[in-house]
Amino acid sequence: MKHKSQDNPQGEFPEEFGSQSRRSFLRLAGFTFAGVALAGCEQSRIEKAIPYLIKPEEITPGKASWYASTCRGCSAGCGILVKNRDGRPIKIEGNPDHPVSRGGVCAIGQAMVLGIYDSMRLTGPLINGSLSTWNAVDRTVAGTLQSLQSKNRGVRILTGALNGPTEKVILDGFLRRFSNAKHIVWSALSQSAILEAHRLTHGMRVLPRYRFDKADVIVSFDADFLGTWISPVEFTRGYTEKRSLKGMPPMCSYHVQVESRLSLTGAKADRRIVIAPAERIALIQELYSALTGKRAGSEMARLGRRLQEARGRSLVVCGSNDLQAQLLINAINHALGNYGGTIDLNTPSYQHQSDDRAVQGLVEEMREGNVGALFLAGVNPVADLPNGSEFAGLMKNIPLVVSFADHVDETSSQATIIAPDHHFLESWSDAEPVDGIVTVNQPVIAPLGNTRSLMESLSIWSGRPKSALQLMQETWSRSVFPRRKKGMGFQEFWDRAVHDGFVEVHPTRRVLPRFRPGSVEPPVAQAVTEGFTAVLYPKVTVLDGRHAQNAWLQEIPDPITKITWDNYAILSPEAAEKIGGMSGDIVRLSLPDGSSALELPAWVQPGQPESVVAVALGYGRKGTERFTSIGPKWLQGRPSTGPNGLVGVNASVFLEFDNGEVKYERNGIKIEKTGRRSVLACTQTYHSVDSPPLLAGEQRHRRPLVQMTSLAEFAADPTAGSYPKPESRSLWSEEHHYDGYHWGMVIDLNACTGCAACVVSCQAENNIPVVGKDEVLRNREMHWLRIDRYFMENDGTTDVVHQPMLCHHCDNAPCETVCPVQATVHSSEGLNQQIYNRCVGTRYCANNCPYKIRRFNWFDYPRDNEKENMVLNPDVTVRSRGVMEKCSFCVQRIQEARIEAKRQGTTIRDDQLKTACEQSCPARAIAFGDLNNPETRVSMLAKDPRQYQILAELEIRPTVSYMTVVKNRLDVKEQDNV
């Protein structure tokens, strides 16, 4: 293959990517795949390979290079490794050495690699909505700023969490040029109250670093810390480590979730207390009183005792943006001695810095006409603020509005100038998510469009134009390098940081804050109001909506509801009965004064109080109209967007500023049925692990799929909770022998949170197409790995379990015997292989799969976008219509590891090979490897007493097995005992 400049990837394969892109891609993919396959065999070798005339450094065709970087999908700042093939980033994986994320990446992080090839990303600067040049932009900005100096109108910069040392220096330098300039930090998922509470109780406006890895007792009030709260990957890892069940007595934290909607975190809790939002403050007060010895006997008092027993090792968190609640939480944690233990204020987190009061101040200033220039980066206030439409109107009065957004969104479309920032994979930048951990972003591809780094733009407008790299190195030599822990020169320091993707330095020196008694006053109890309370929450997949244009994320089923492509009004069964509605009925939620209303489909689900209606934020986003016809086009195909032409509806109209903070709960909501219906693309039609009671007969209802036990029973008997192994006899005369490797997988359901990171990781690794809402509705989603979510009902309490489901690579695979053309066959290493080009598509194999994990190509899924096709993994074939596909255990990775091992003359080590799902799992719930080697993690887990197989009685000998869920209870069926 001829090497061309990477600067212009659109022109990279001019002929191939022209008229027949898919076919030529297949040809290219086929070449590399065949190359890998051939190199794996000893019999033949590649005889003809055309070398580079001048081989570029770092690039070896067919071999991936990996670059360490930092994920900017949210503000948590997880460490990532970016896989580059032939100059193109194609996969994001976790950086195992990174001190914050420790190897995990969430679903959003995984999906960020698609964003870089987004064809709707701005390719150049826009002035008043039309494409322009950077020169023109710089002239306009400089001119307007000049004229502002004379009038005393302020310059305001509104950004999301901005914690990079360089970014801060540049921004401060820019602002210093103006007499009236201010930087305001705000994010749509505001944690302002936590920061504010710490300002009041500790005199420092910081977000502490929560250490779930040190917490033995966790009480969370509406904090979805495993799903969306602050730094879920970091928290998930810490949380699961504390529940590893290692040792005797088995290590297992006690987790109580007090919440008003069923969250991912609530699904994992040992005890889940369902409350209405209005009851929360009273409960927190009760807990506080119990700790200070004023009350006894109640549930909170018992909980308080349990917390007291774990002084310094307990953790009480609250996700509500309510200052009073947060003040009490601080007092509770102080009373429990958790500051310095599970709550770290010495090296606080910078992951959220939002200041809701400052934003209100900004709006006020805009109303008064005092803002002369507004710069916006990483925020979309028009869509996210409670009074977004007002904000849009006020923006028109500002002489200069510059947005750094990379898409035309609600806010940037109102801006005078859009100066699009690079994608984070294209740019140099840094971040300091936690004090003392400075992370690096390095470009892994030349910018695909004519975009410019935010730092460069600001430096130019400050009159000191420099490249982002220069700016970064300058800042680092001045402010980061002096904080180094080990003595070394700057170049070495810098090189290491870039190589590792992060550097650990001394935290900034500060006076250790003390708790100020008396700062907490007894809260005013909230009045119980009429009507419903709307709980507005972020979804694990699209968060606040900043990733609404990412098709992978839109198609990931929500871990709890299993719905894709929509937001909806979640109602409890009781509430649904009250309004006489059912799932799919379009309901109208309106404020008591009728000022705003939302119409969205209802979804009925247990696990929340009758008075609550939960609606996800981040939907109804401008730009999502692009997905209208994302699926296959055919006679009865329907659009992926709703009646408004967008995906979902924007629920931020229900937000309000209350006492300084954005309130994510709104009381007094009226709900009426509209009489219309809409179907929600849910990937499950049945939600319980029990057979339908009407059909189950008198015998056992529960299907033996998910094993669950209590900690007490587990401590007494490690096999507790196991279903009896059914007696069966194989009709097969001989066993399979695996002399070399025997690949297998164990999934620890006790660790798995259902966060769907593995699903996106698999999608990215294996070129899985997005099929659109209509196809999901028809249950034709293509994900090779799905996560089954079951409700387990026990005497009134409902437990939620997640069970990742993928090809079990059965030794006696039922799919293999029925294929008429031998398109699915068994390998000598236990893999069940699908041979795409032999498949004629009878679907017999899928019918005969008891796990129903096979996926059929019902259509030729659209892959028309040349740019977006660049994300495809060249090691994996893109499947054509009419063939079956399924999980391959990432066979391309096995082959790659095999080649490497062969080159080194050894066998594949356990740490050399990880499947995509395993690699990204923040909870390390998945173990893949060689079952023949007793040293591997998977072999050890396979011998664990908790390990079990499902449907083993069919004698299909699955090589994927699961591990029993252990809840920290005395009796697994009763949550209410500790």
Binding site: Q636, L695, R843, R881, V883
Partner: protein
């Protein structure tokens, strides 16, 4: 000649037909231009056929996604239609081969049409396994043939490969059997037609039939041998089709009772279809004297018998599901009866178990209209039987998380209509081109020509029958 009629048996052919009457009656529709009724029927059936053709074309061009199938339900209308049509064919083979071997003389009036029905039904059936493939243009890969791809061979463990052999054999034998039976009649047509083109056509097909005793003798031998060859097919084909399901692991499919159950069902549905067609044909083409009430009654009795077997199979299935202690199996059957598709199950039971019971009554059995309606009900019921087995079992198998529902798309419905269109169009063309009733065979069961002495005993009948026949062409 009424005095020559047996007092013990009612005559098989009414109206005191002479040999030449038979020839005349059967061949006349082929000479006349078709009537308005035929044209109307043809217009309807060919429209259905073209609708189906359009649907299949669109589906092959666009993808299987144009059907309502999904990740959980990989087969529904496609394989239901396949099994349904294959089942229809079985009555033809049973009538022409097994009843021949058992010397059931009444078969002579219906066997030609029934065999034609078999062939057309197998054609309809054979289309579905091909178009249900994701890549139908590669359907030939299921045939083991020497190739340069390795060579890649088929998977002989797969019931789909067995299917391919079973259906291929079935179609071939049925076609040859039918054609051989047609030869004397083709010669008759050749000899009586005035049109040159027709003479060439029939002449070519009649393979130089001369009506000599020797020819007749050879013919009878071949026919007997072919009947013997075709007989096991009645059992084997549907047995193999049932293995598609019986060898799988899906509850509701994995059942050892399937082979006899499917065969009984096939014969049952086949006779219902024969009845439907024969009742229409005898009315439209005025063959009441050939296809008599006696025929309808006899077929009604077969339906009672096979319907009983089917009912027994249903009950056995339920009993085994309950008795086995296998919770998935048990659930699969309870779900059939009371789950989301209970309506389909109860349509099946009403049509296949309850409705045939009416045929115990002679009054019903001999009422042509009622029998016609019952035959339609059984056709519907047997289609639903396959739908219940194939689709409902798939919708809810082992993991509740993968349970799903299935609903057909317009394309699937059009394809089903199209398969009926193909069947009816072929049948209508058949009534115009070939003699619907086996002239030569019917003449053998007439009392005509046995005026002065008693008819020979049944045992020696077929040996002596040969010389009694009027050679084709001599009128």
């Amino acid at each position: 000649m009424s005095d020559h009629t047996s007092i013990l048996r009612s005559p098989l052919i009414l109206g005191n037909k002479s040999y030449s009457d038979v020839t005349e009656d059967v061949a006349l529709p082929l000479d006349r231009s078709p009537g308005k009724e035929w044209w109307m029927a043809f217009a309807v059936s060919s429209s259905m056929l073209f609708l189906g053709l359009a649907a299949v074309t669109y589906q092959v061009m666009t993808g299987i996604g144009t059907w309502g199938l999904n990740n959980t339900v990989g087969w529904a209308f496609d394989i239901t239609n396949f099994v349904f049509w294959i089942g229809i064919g079985h009555a033809g083979t049973l009538i022409s081969a097994i009843l021949f071997l058992f010397r059931q003389k009444w078969r002579t009036s219906v066997n030609r049409s029934a065999e034609a029905m078999t062939i057309f039904a197998v054609i309809c059936a054979g289309i579905f396994p091909i178009i249900h493939m994701g890549r139908p243009w590669l359907a030939f890969w299921v045939v083991p043939y020497p190739n340069l791809r390795g060579p890649l061979w088929v998977n002989f463990r797969s019931p789909l490969v067995w299917d391919m052999f079973a259906i291929g054999t079935y179609f071939t034998i049925s076609l040859v059997f039918w054609f051989v039976g047609l030869i004397p009649d083709l010669a008759t047509l050749r000899d009586r037609t005035a049109s040159n083109i027709k003479k060439k056509f029939y002449g070519l097909l009649s393979l130089g039939w001369d009506g000599s005793n020797r020819t007749w003798l050879r013919y009878e031998t071949v026919y007997l041998l072919l009947a013997g060859l075709a007989t096991p097919l009645v059992v084997s084909v549907h047995t193999i089709v049932s293995w598609d399901f019986a060898t799988s692991v899906i509850p509701g499919w994995h059942t050892t009772i399937f082979p006899p159950y499917f065969v009984a069902g096939a014969v049952f549905s086949g006779f219902a279809m024969v009845l439907t067609l024969m009742i229409i044909a005898r009315t439209v083409l005025h063959f009441e004297e050939y296809i008599t009430l006696h025929h309808i009654e006899s077929m009604g009795k077969i339906i009672i018998a096979t319907g009983g077997m089917v009912a027994l199979a249903y009950l056995t299935e339920l009993f085994v599901a309950m008795y086995s202690g296998n919770e998935y199996e048990r659930f699969a059957f309870i779900n059939r009866m009371f789950g989301p598709y209970a309506w389909a199950y109860w349509i099946m039971v009403s049509c296949n178990v309850l409705s045939p019971q009416l045929l115990w009554l002679k009054k019903v059995r001999t009422n042509v209209t009622l029998v016609f309606l019952l035959s339609l009900a059984i056709n519907v019921g047997m289609w639903f039987e396959r739908f219940v087995i194939i689709t409902i079992s798939l919708t809810r198998d082992y993991l509740p998380a993968s349970w799903d529902v299935y609903a057909p798309t317009l394309i699937e419905i059009a394809t089903l209509i199209g398969s009926f269109g193909l069947f009816l169009t072929l049948f209508l063309l058949f009534t115009r081109i070939l003699p619907m009733i086996a002239i030569g065979e019917v003449k053998g069961v007439l009392s005509y020509g046995r005026a002065s002495h008693e008819a020979p005993k049944a045992e020696g009948r077929y040996v002596s029958a040969a010389h009694e026949r009027v050679p084709g062409g001599v009128r």
